[in-house]
């Protein structure tokens, strides 16, 4: 059990146990504030029974015409609360709000090396749409999978037909 609720500004002070995970980025304040002020319904937290924050999802909806889609910017669950299906619940919430906003699909980026995460997204119905070369900067830079799941609005699941060739980050739309 864990309670899911909308993200509130003061939660920013309570993200540490989730964010100190090396693969979870702590963004600048303006980044969080931008999401909160623009897409507040795409930002949720999970609380443990004692009220500490054990995970969150942050996303947005964007794109033109049939590219109008929900996007997962960050999703993370604290180590001790993994294996409880919490990420799946958060994803389901984001899919449902994207659907309500008439999106055609939901997409996300994940490190190709992060097998645990890639497998989880596959279980949740996502598939690799394309590979993005050197999307994550670091030493060395790392490629990302752009993974997608079609929503009911995309009746023929056109949005998820995989691209045959990888793309460079500057060519992303």
């Amino acid at each position: 059990m864990s309670n899911i609720r909308a993200f509130s500004c003061s939660d920013l002070f309570k993200l540490n146990s989730v964010n100190l995970d090396p693969l979870t980025e702590t963004y600048g304040l303006s980044f969080y504030l931008q999401y909160m002020s623009h897409w507040p319904e795409f930002f949720q937290v999970v609380e443990s029974p004692n009220g500490s924050i054990i995970g969150y999802i942050m996303g947005k909806v964007e794109g033109q015409l049939d590219q109008w889609h929900g996007h997962v910017t960050a999703l993370s669950v604290q180590y001790d609360y993994r294996r409880l299906n919490l990420a799946a619940k958060l994803m389901k919430g984001l899919e449902s709000i994207s659907e309500k906003k008439q999106a055609y699909f939901v997409d996300l980026f994940v490190r190709v090396s992060n097998k645990v995460a890639v497998d989880m997204y596959k279980r949740l119905g996502y598939s690799v749409y394309r590979r993005v070369l050197e999307y994550y900067s670091g030493d060395p830079d790392e490629d990302a999978f752009d993974m997608r799941k079609a929503l009911p609005k995309d009746k023929y699941k056109k949005s998820i037909i995989p691209l045959p060739h990888p793309v460079r980050p500057e060519d992303l739309d």
């Binding site: 309670n3 909308a6 002070f13 146990s17 090396p22 304040l29 909160m36 002020s37 004692n50 389901k92």
Partner: protein, 969 residues
């Protein structure tokens, strides 16, 4: 202007913009001048020139040119945008509004200008003006968002005023009426508008009306993802005590999401209330219980081993069962008829808990859940032990190796339970070490479960080593044997589990306590702490970097921390503006609160004050450098912080693992105490800083008024401001505060280690540091106080006090027996140096005062005034006394310097340590490198850090000695 002109202009400005964007301000200035030579009245080019000047640090020129353009009241967008940027960077947002107001006077029908004006009022929190501008916008272009901007502005007036009547009788009803009008006219278009309507209703406590809206056609505009809408309704029913509807609502919510514990907890309370009202033999409670039991049976079947099912085991219903058990237990105390229901749930709480362990022991969250429930229901350690016993009846695992990952988690959970209920506290030292050794072996052996994981993943095996560390920390870290054993295991663990931040936090704490800051910093940096974490986790190092005398690093770290606070103000207002743009009205209040929390942040105020003191410590070498540093600070007193009660504490203490509930309670008690201590510390430091600024200005203003009595504005600072009065007041404040502190209870203990470490106040007030400062300040007051006829003597007691402090500190350094006490000695020494730095400055100020009296005495002597002769006698005797004092300070500082150079702390790092006790089977500790080499490395690191501290202390003391010798009258 024709279209062609516009493009020409744009093309001419382009290079300036490019240079500014690239940070090439010098070139930008040249480019702007080039354009201005061709077109001398080109407003936008002028403003861009201002921006370049500003960024080159030529604020004066920038301001005067900007004022010139401002008067012309430009109306074109690019000029106004550039002006906005200038004013933002000048921290004068009020002038942004002003320039748009001027522009609108010229073009009252310009929608874009008006909307910019609205946003500029958002930056100023001018809600009333926001409202008026929004209405003007709506009148100009009847678009819904403008109308609702004005409703929101009224809402903000209502929640920010302290006048409750105005808010409830006037503002909120007005906002409501405005929305109602739109509803009646069928003009509502967007979710944002409905949300705002709900906010207005909620603030008036019109909850029934809210439900009507949510159930009506407007409600369909609000999304119900994750049942957020249904949840909102359910809580409204509950608040309204519409019990039956609340009951149905929460029941439905559970049917849709069986894992959200809050729903169950509310439902239990509602069922109980309904039963109590109807006296119906627990009809509703029965219903709830049956629902829960059915749910659990269903889950049990579908998740039982061998069963192929897509249903995932989730712990919500099982936790709810335990909660229901205790809920009814509580009710049964007054109404025994509940006992029958309780029996249907379980025969005992212990059964329930061990059942929960059977189901969920293989999830790493299990220990946290159980520990939380023990805490919530006041389970004693003895009762918790019965749970452990019941679990152990099923299996005895200790000393066996888990063969699968589920088993590993179950084993770890059990060990943590044993630890948390105090079972290991009863072990004698030998057995405790045996346990620690076995945990190290388990950690080592179970690393195989994480072989496929990335280095960025946490190792499943980590909990074993962490528990071993906690057991060691419970022993006495003031014993160097134990301390080094702990450091060894922790450093080794990082080697295998480089991503576990829990062990890094332990290391940072330990190195902080022993004053080995270089070692703390390397682990802190590896955690990549940044942005908002400066506020929540910056405290991990912001004190220890100073107390370990790493002054240069302090200056860098504190400056980096301050950068976060100065930049966030802009970010926050930008996001408020976005809230209006995108109609995210629900977030405006939250973001405004966030701003206040950061503005009144304890951490911010502390590092802001310490940074000034550090600048004085590091940069002031002589009178000139003192003047350079202090002069720009003089304006700061205008907006001095006095609102101590508003300070907010956002430090994240819970980030430290703590497995014992009683320790958690102790930690939160300690955090409260620590916050009070830190506020007292902040007051003390801030009085000192401000008194110094005031004292400096006392002597400055008298120097200047001597030079030129007509000149009352120097460098923008009014010299007729009564600095003397301010200085007096601040010295009194400092005295009062010090007096108060002698009777205040200050936390001095470093235990429990997970709690915040004692405030620097503790060590500071344990000696008479403040007295030295106060005595010197009093002398400055006496010398500069014109109302006093003759000052006959300088009180040189401050030398005696300072001397005995230094002697005591040196003695404690010589007698230090363990690394923890070395850590404290470094704190004392950095205080001594800090006081030396402040004393030098105060003597500098005193010196200025004396020089002035000396000069005026000479003048009157020339006039052959008899009293003047007397004056000059008393002044020269004062000067003599002052120089005696100066010499004494030099002497003390020299003694300190000699000690620092000779101090042999290495001897404490040399003795042999017995590691056999924690070595286990020795695989882990001996792998690749021998254990001895790891410990040698730790010694080397600590030694290097201490050597660095010593060097900084020596350097600063030497520098201050030179400063002292330059202060002869």
């Amino acid at each position: 202007m024709s279209k062609a002109d516009l493009t020409v202009n744009e093309r001419r400005l382009r290079p300036i913009y490019d240079c500014l964007d690239n940070g090439n301000n010098k070139k930008a200035l040249q480019e702007a001048d080039k354009v201005l030579r061709k077109q001398k009245d080109f407003q936008c080019a002028k403003v861009l020139k201002c921006l370049a000047l500003l960024r080159l640090g030529r604020q004066h020129e920038c301001s005067s040119l900007l004022a010139e353009v401002h008067k012309e009241a430009p109306t074109d967008d690019s000029t106004l945008q550039a002006m906005s940027i200038c004013y933002r960077e000048l921290h004068k947002p009020e002038l942004i509004a002003d320039c748009y107001e001027n522009a609108i006077k010229k073009e009252p029908q310009n929608e874009e200008l008006l909307s910019h004006l609205f946003m500029s009022f958002v930056r100023l929190n001018e809600y009333k003006k926001q409202q008026k501008t929004a209405i003007n916008l709506y009148k100009l272009k009847p678009k819904n968002p403008y109308y609702f901007w004005s409703v929101m502005s009224i809402y903000m007036q209502a929640i920010s005023t302290s006048d409750c009547k105005l808010s409830q009788n006037m503002l909120l009803p007005l906002a409501e009426k405005m929305v109602q009008k739109f509803i009646d006219e069928g003009k509502i278009e967007a979710e944002a508008e409905v949300q705002l309507y709900l906010m207005v209703l909620e603030k008036q406590n019109k909850l029934n009306e809210m439900i009507e809206v949510l159930n009506g056609p407007l409600g369909s505009l609000i999304p119900n993802h994750l049942d957020f809408l249904s949840r909102r309704k359910a809580f409204l029913f509950l608040k309204l005590e519409r019990w039956q509807e609340a009951f149905d609502a929460f029941k439905n919510l559970i049917e849709n999401n069986i894992d959200q514990l809050e729903y169950y907890l509310e439902l239990f309370k509602i069922a109980f209330t309904l039963d109590a009202k109807a006296n119906n033999e627990h009809l509703y409670t029965n219903q709830v219980m049956n629902m829960l039991m059915k749910l659990i049976t269903k889950l049990d079947i579908s998740t039982s081993p061998g069963k192929k099912s897509h249903v995932k085991l989730c712990r919500g219903p099982y936790l709810a069962k335990i909660e229901l058990y205790f809920f009814l237990k509580d009710k049964a105390a007054n109404d025994p008829s509940y006992n029958e229901l309780i029996q249907r749930i379980a025969s005992s709480a212990i059964d329930l808990f061990s059942e929960f362990y059977r189901k969920f022991g293989h999830k790493p969250s299990c220990f946290h859940d159980l520990s939380y429930l023990f805490f919530k229901y006041g389970f004693s350690n003895i009762e918790a032990r019965s749970v452990v016993e019941a679990i152990c009846k099923d299996r005895t695992l200790l000393n066996e190796l888990p063969v699968a990952i589920d088993e590993l988690y179950r084993h770890q959970c059990l060990l943590l339970l044993k630890y948390s209920c105090g079972l290991y506290d009863e072990l004698d030292e030998e057995n405790k070490y045996r346990l620690i050794s076995s945990l190290i072996d388990l950690y080592d052996a179970c690393l195989k479960f994480g072989e496929d994981l990335l280095p960025s993943d946490i190792q499943p095996s980590d909990t074993y080593a962490l528990l071993a560390l906690h057991l060691l920390l419970d022993l006495n870290i003031e014993n160097d044997q134990i301390l080094l054993q702990t450091l060894l295991i922790a450093e080794r663990m990082i080697w295998k589990s480089p991503s576990n931040f829990n062990v890094k936090l332990i290391l940072i704490k330990l190195y902080n306590v022993i004053g080995a800051f270089k070692c703390s910093l390397s682990h802190y940096e590896s955690m990549d702490i940044k942005h908002i974490q400066q506020e929540t986790l910056g405290y991990l190092i912001s004190n220890s970097v100073i107390t370990s005398a790493h002054f240069h690093t302090s200056a860098q770290l504190l400056a980096a921390g301050l950068k976060f606070y100065t930049s966030n103000n802009k970010d926050i207002f930008d996001s408020l503006i976005s809230c209006y743009k995108y109609g995210s009205f629900t977030k405006v209040e939250e973001i405004t609160e966030l701003r206040n929390k950061l503005y009144y942040s304890l951490q911010y105020c502390l590092i802001d004050t310490e940074k000034i003191l550090l600048d004085l410590l590091l940069e002031v070498k002589n009178h000139q450098t003192f003047e350079d540093i202090i002069t720009p600070l003089s304006v700061k007193l205008d907006h001095e912080m006095t609102n101590w009660s508003k300070l907010s504490d956002n430090r994240d203490i819970s980030i430290f693992q703590c497995f014992k509930n009683e320790v958690k309670t102790a930690i939160s008690r300690k955090q409260k105490q620590n916050f009070e201590d830190e506020v007292d510390w902040l007051k003390l430091r801030s009085y000192i800083v401000r008194a110094i600024i005031a004292a400096f200005n006392v002597t400055q203003s008298s120097v200047k008024s001597e030079k030129n009595s007509n000149d009352c504005v120097t460098n923008g600072v009014q010299t007729d401001y009564d600095w003397m009065q301010t200085f007096k007041r601040l010295v009194d404040d400092l005295k009062d505060h010090r007096a108060k502190l002698t009777t205040t209870n200050i936390d001095k203990s470093i235990y429990p280690l997970q709690a915040p470490q004692p405030s620097r106040l503790a060590v500071f007030v344990s000696r008479k540091y403040t007295e030295v400062i106060l005595k010197l300040m009093q002398t400055i007051l006496d010398v500069n106080d014109f109302s006093k006829e003759n000052v006959l003597a300088i009180d040189t007691k401050c030398c005696d006090i300072y001397q005995s402090i230094v002697e005591e500190v040196v003695a404690s350094a010589k007698s230090a027996k363990c690394l923890v006490s070395i850590g404290r000695v470094f704190e004392e020494l950095s205080n001594c140096v800090d006081i030396l730095s402040l004393s030098c400055i105060l003597m500098d100020i005193l010196c200025c005062g004396l020089k002035r009296s000396f000069r005026s005495a000479k003048k009157s002597k020339k006039k052959k005034d008899t009293s003047g002769a007397q004056d000059s006698i008393s002044v020269s005797s004062l000067v003599n006394q002052y120089e005696t004092m100066l010499n004494e300070f030099e002497q003390i500082a020299n003694n300190m310097l000699t000690f620092l150079k000779e101090w042999n702390f290495q001897s404490l790092l040399q003795f042999e340590i017995d590691f056999s006790k924690v070595a286990g089977n020795k695989n882990f500790l001996y792998e690749t490198q021998g254990m001895q080499s790891v410990i040698d490395e730790i010694r080397k690191k600590v030694d290097a850090s201490y050597a660095h501290s010593r060097k900084e202390l020596v350097d600063i003391t030497s520098m201050k000695l030179k400063y002292l010798s330059s202060l002869k009258v």
